[in-house]
Symmetry: C2
Subunit: 519 residues, 2 copies
C-alpha cells in the first residue's frame, strides 16, 4: 500500500466516496489507486472549474463533502473561483492537489509554484502532505476540517513521492471528532424574545445556511405567525427548501434601492446564521449597508451554531409551538398559451407551473434569472441553489454535482449565457455521466448585468468601446451547436408551447438537455 492508496482508503473510511477529478502526471498514483476501490466514484471534468463547482453542488445536496483531485498550483488555480463560491455557500469540500515530489522542489521545474500560497485565499484549512507516513492522518484531518460547522474548504497537497512511497505503518486513520454546532446562550434567546415581542413587524429575523431547510423554516414561520415579525434571507443562499408546503422567506433583493425599500421599516434585525445584509457592490453615493441607519443589528446565532435549536428555543419561549405557520400553497401562475411568443414573464410562469416535485434548481440566471424566484415560490416543493459568491461559472458545474448526489431528482439549471461560457465544459460531463439535467439557457447575447451596472456606477454616456465589452452577439454563440459538440441534446423553442414540451421532456429523466431560450 502506497501513500496514494492510504489516502483513498482514508477518504472512503471517512465517508468521502465521490471524487471529481482532473488529474495530471503528479496524480498518477492516486488515479492508479482508484482502480482498486470501486466504492470511490470518480467523475472527470475537462476543466478544474467544473471539478470544484461540481464538488460544491454535490455537497450542497449530499450533505457531505466530495473530494476533488487537481493538478499542481495551476490546476488548483483554475478551480479557485468555484472554491470561492463554495466557501460563501459554507460547502464542505476536501481538495487533494498533487504537487511535485518533495525532492524535486529545489529544481523549480516549469510547473512548480507556491501551491500553499495558491490554496490559502480560498481555503479554510491547508496542509502539505509531507510524507507517506503521515498522509492518512492528514487526510482524516482534512475531512474533519471540511465537516467542521458550518462547512469548510480543506485543501491537502499531495507531493508525488508521498503518493508513491509505502507508509511504514499501514494504519488508516479515522476522522477525528468534529465539534457539534454549539447551542446559543439562553440569555441571548431571552433578549431576542423580548425584542420580537416588543417590536412586532419592525423586527426581522435574518436566516441563512442550515436554517434554510423546510424544518427550521417551518419554525420561523410559526414565529412570524405568532408575533408578526418578518423573516428574511440574504440575496443568495447555498440551498433553500421552498415551494408548496413550505414557509417562504423574504429575500433581500440584489439591487441596492430595492434592498433599501424591502428593509426600510425594520428597526431590529436579528441574525440567525446570517450576516447583516450589505450591498453586493459599492456604488458612488449609495450606502454599503442596506438596513436603515437606525436599525439595530442583533447577532443571535453565528453561522456555525445550532440554528434549528435556536429557532426551536425561540418558538418555545414565544409560545408559538401550536401556531400554524403560513405555508405556501401550490399556486403557480397560469401556463402561457402554447402559441404565445417567448417572453421572460412567460418563461418564469412556465418553469413555475411545470417544475416537478423534488426538482433541484441551480440558479445562475443573473440578470435573466431574477424573475424566476418570485413565481417558483408557489411551485411544487423543490430545492434552490444560488450562486453564493458571485464568481460566475458555477451553474453548469453545480448541476453536475447535484445530479450525481441525487440521481433520483431532476436538476434544472437557470443559466445565463455569459456565465455559461466560463465553464461550458460542464456540458461534457453531463453527457458522459448521462445526468438528469435540464439547462434553461437564458440567452440575451450580452453581459446584460453590466449594461445596467455601467449606469449604476454613474458612468454616463457609454460609447461603442464600452458597450462593445458587454455584447456577445459579434458573433452570436450557437448554444445548440455548443451543447451538441459535447454530446448534449439541445433544442431552440420558437413558442411557449415548444418551451413547455422541451422542459417536460428534459425533466423526465432521460439524460441532459439544453434549451436555448432567447430572452
Amino acid at each position: 500500500m502506497n501513500g496514494a492508496e492510504a489516502l483513498v482508503r482514508t477518504l472512503l473510511a471517512g465517508g468521502v466516496d465521490t471524487c471529481f477529478a482532473n488529474p495530471g502526471t503528479s496524480e498518477m498514483h492516486f488515479v492508479a489507486a482508484l482502480d482498486r476501490f470501486p466504492a470511490m466514484r470518480c467523475v472527470l471534468g475537462l476543466f478544474e472549474g467544473v471539478v470544484t463547482g461540481a464538488a460544491d453542488g454535490y455537497a450542497r445536496m449530499a450533505e457531505k463533502p466530495a473530494a476533488t483531485l487537481l493538478h499542481l498550483g495551476p490546476g488548483l488555480a483554475n478551480g479557485l473561483a468555484n472554491l470561492h463560491n463554495a466557501r460563501r455557500a459554507m460547502t464542505p469540500m476536501v481538495n487533494v492537489v498533487g504537487d511535485h515530489a518533495t525532492h524535486h522542489r529545489i529544481h523549480d521545474a516549469p510547473l512548480a509554484s507556491d501551491v500553499i500560497g495558491v490554496a490559502t485565499p480560498f481555503s479554510h484549512w491547508v496542509r502539505m502532505g509531507e510524507s507517506a507516513d503521515t498522509i492518512s492522518a492528514d487526510g482524516a484531518a482534512a475531512i474533519a476540517a471540511a465537516l467542521e460547522p458550518p462547512g469548510r474548504i480543506a485543501t491537502l497537497v499531495l507531493p508525488a513521492d508521498t503518493a508513491w512511497t509505502d507508509p511504514k505503518d499501514p494504519t488508516i486513520h479515522a476522522v477525528p471528532p468534529v465539534p457539534a454546532r454549539p447551542a446559543v446562550d439562553a440569555a441571548k434567546i431571552a433578549d431576542a424574545v423580548r425584542r420580537i415581542r416588543a417590536g412586532g413587524a419592525s423586527v426581522g429575523l435574518m436566516l441563512n445556511g442550515a436554517a434554510m431547510r423546510a424544518g427550521p423554516l417551518d419554525l420561523a414561520g410559526r414565529i412570524k405567525a405568532a408575533t408578526g415579525c418578518r423573516i428574511f434571507a440574504p440575496t443568495s443562499n447555498g440551498r433553500t427548501e421552498r415551494g408548496a408546503g413550505r414557509f417562504a422567506v423574504e429575500r433581500v433583493p440584489y439591487v441596492v434601492d430595492m434592498a433599501l425599500e424591502t428593509l426600510k421599516d425594520v428597526r431590529t434585525l436579528i441574525l440567525v446564521g446570517a450576516r447583516a445584509p450589505v450591498a453586493f457592490f459599492a456604488y458612488p453615493g449609495k450606502p454599503s449597508v442596506v438596513t436603515p441607519p437606525d436599525c439595530e443589528i442583533v447577532p443571535l446565532a453565528d453561522l456555525h451554531e445550532d440554528l434549528t435549536g435556536t429557532l426551536e428555543a425561540l418558538v418555545e419561549a414565544l409560545g408559538a409551538g401550536r401556531t400554524a405557520p403560513p405555508l405556501q400553497s401550490f399556486a403557480p401562475p397560469p401556463l402561457p398559451g402554447a402559441y404565445d411568443a417567448i417572453t421572460p414573464e412567460g418563461l418564469a410562469a412556465a418553469v413555475a407551473a411545470l417544475l416537478p416535485e423534488g426538482a433541484i434548481v441551480v440558479d445562475e440566471g443573473i440578470t435573466g434569472g431574477r424573475r424566476f424566484m418570485p413565481g417558483t415560490v408557489a411551485a411544487r416543493p423543490h430545492d434552490w441553489l444560488n450562486l453564493t459568491g458571485g464568481a460566475i461559472g458555477d451553474g453548469l458545474p453545480m448541476a453536475v454535482g447535484a445530479a450525481i448526489a441525487r440521481p433520483d431528482r431532476p436538476v434544472v439549471v437557470l443559466q445565463a449565457d455569459g456565465s455559461a461560457m466560463y465553464t461550458n465544459q460542464g456540458l461534457w460531463t453531463m453527457a458522459r455521466e448521462g445526468l438528469n439535467v435540464t439547462v434553461v439557457l437564458l440567452n440575451n447575447r450580452s453581459y446584460a448585468t453590466l449594461v445596467g451596472e455601467l449606469a449604476n456606477v454613474g458612468a454616463k454616456n457609454a460609447g461603442p468601446t464600452a458597450l462593445g465589452m458587454f455584447s456577445l452577439d459579434r458573433p452570436a454563440i450557437d448554444w445548440c451547436q455548443m451543447a451538441r459538440s459535447m454530446g448534449v441534446e439541445a433544442v431552440r423553442p420558437e413558442t411557449m408551447g415548444d418551451f413547455a414540451r422541451a422542459f417536460v421532456e428534459g425533466t423526465s429523466g432521460k439524460g441532459p438537455l439544453l434549451i436555448d431560450v432567447p430572452i
Copy 2:
C-alpha cells in the same frame, strides 16, 4: 478626470495600448474611460484564461506588455494558470484587477476576497491602488516593473472608488527608468572561453529567453562552428526564431530518458540566460537533473543580463567573428500524397512544407505535437512559441494575442484537444476580431500524455477507472461543431490532400479556421 481615466492615460503614455479584458461591475469606470481613448485597443475574452493567455502571446510577439482587465479576486484566479505560463516565458504583463471600493471592504461582501493574496503566487510585483491621487504613479510603476528584464508580471489592484474618484493632481506619471540588462563580467567571459576552447564537443552552451532570436542564435552558431561546442535550449521557450536561414539549437527533450541521452556526453554546461535543465516531473528511480552527474554547470549570464552582448563577447574572444555559422537550409520533408491517409508523420511533413514565411507557430500540441518541431526546423523562417509553464490551456489564447500583436503574419496553433477544452472560449475572440489564425486541432480524443505518464511513474496494470480518466471519447467532442458554435469556420479533412488544402486556405489571411485532425 477620475482615477480610471488617469490610469488609462498612464498606460497609453507608457506605451501600453492594448487591453485584453473581461470586466465586471467594479471595473465599469475603467471601461467607461476607454471610450475616451480610442488609442487603447480593447479585446474581450469570455473567460479570464483567454485574457491572460492572450496578453502572454501578445507580449511575446509585440515585445512590449499588454494590459489585462480582470474582475476581483475570482476573475484574477481564473487567469492565474496563464499568468504562470507567462511568468515562465519571462513575459512582461500589466494586470489591472478591479476590487471593491475601499470603504466597502469591511463588509466582506459576497465577491470579496484577498486579491493581493490571489495575485502574489504568480506575480513578480503586486500593489493595491489605494487612492485616485496615487493611481497614475502606481500605473507607471507597474509598467516599469513589467519591463524590468527579463520581463515580469505586474499586478495592480484598482478599487472601485480609486477608479471613480477624481485625483487632486491631474499629473500623468511617466514610466520610471527601467534598468538595462547588465553586461556580464569580463572574467566570467574569459573563464567560459577557456572552457569552450579546452572542451570542444564536451562543452554545451544552454540558451534561453532573449538569446533565442535570430541575431544571438547566429552568434551561437559561429561559436559552435569555430570551436565544436554544442548549443542547447530548454524543452520549452517563450519565443524561438527558427527555420531556414537561422541557426538551429539542440532542444532538450521532454522525456527524461531522451534528455539524459541527449546530454550524456556533456561535461561542462555553460548557462546563457537559461537554468540547468531538469526533468519536467519527478519519476520513481529517475533523476531530477538530466545532465550527467559529472557535468559541471557554469552560470555565465543570468536571465536578466545582456545575453546578446555575452554571445558577442564570446565570439570576439574566440575569434569566431568571421566563421560562418551553420545555418539551416530550406529543406522540409516531402509533402505527402494528396490521397494518403492522415498520419502523424504526414501532418508534421505537411506543416513543415506548407508553413508560410513569417508564420507564428503556437505549440500546445503536447503528445500529438512533439513530431512537429523536428520537421519544421527546415521550414521557411518562422517564430515558435512554446507552452512554457506546462499549465495547459495557453494555446488558443496565445494565438489570439500573437495575431493581435502581428496582424501581418499568419498564426498557426498546434493544439491538443484536451488542452484546447480548457480555454475553448478563445475561439470566440478569434471570430470576433477576425484574426489570422489556423488551429490545427490534434484530436486524439484523450489525455494521451497521461496514458504514458501512468506507466512512467511505475503505476502498473491500470484498470478501467484509471484509464477512464484519460479518455475523452465518451462522448467524443465534435470540434467542428464547437468551433462553428463560436463563429469559427471548421473542416475535418479525410486525406492529407484535404489537410494541405485546408492549411493553405487557413494561413492565407481570411480569418480563423479550425482543422479538426484525427491522430
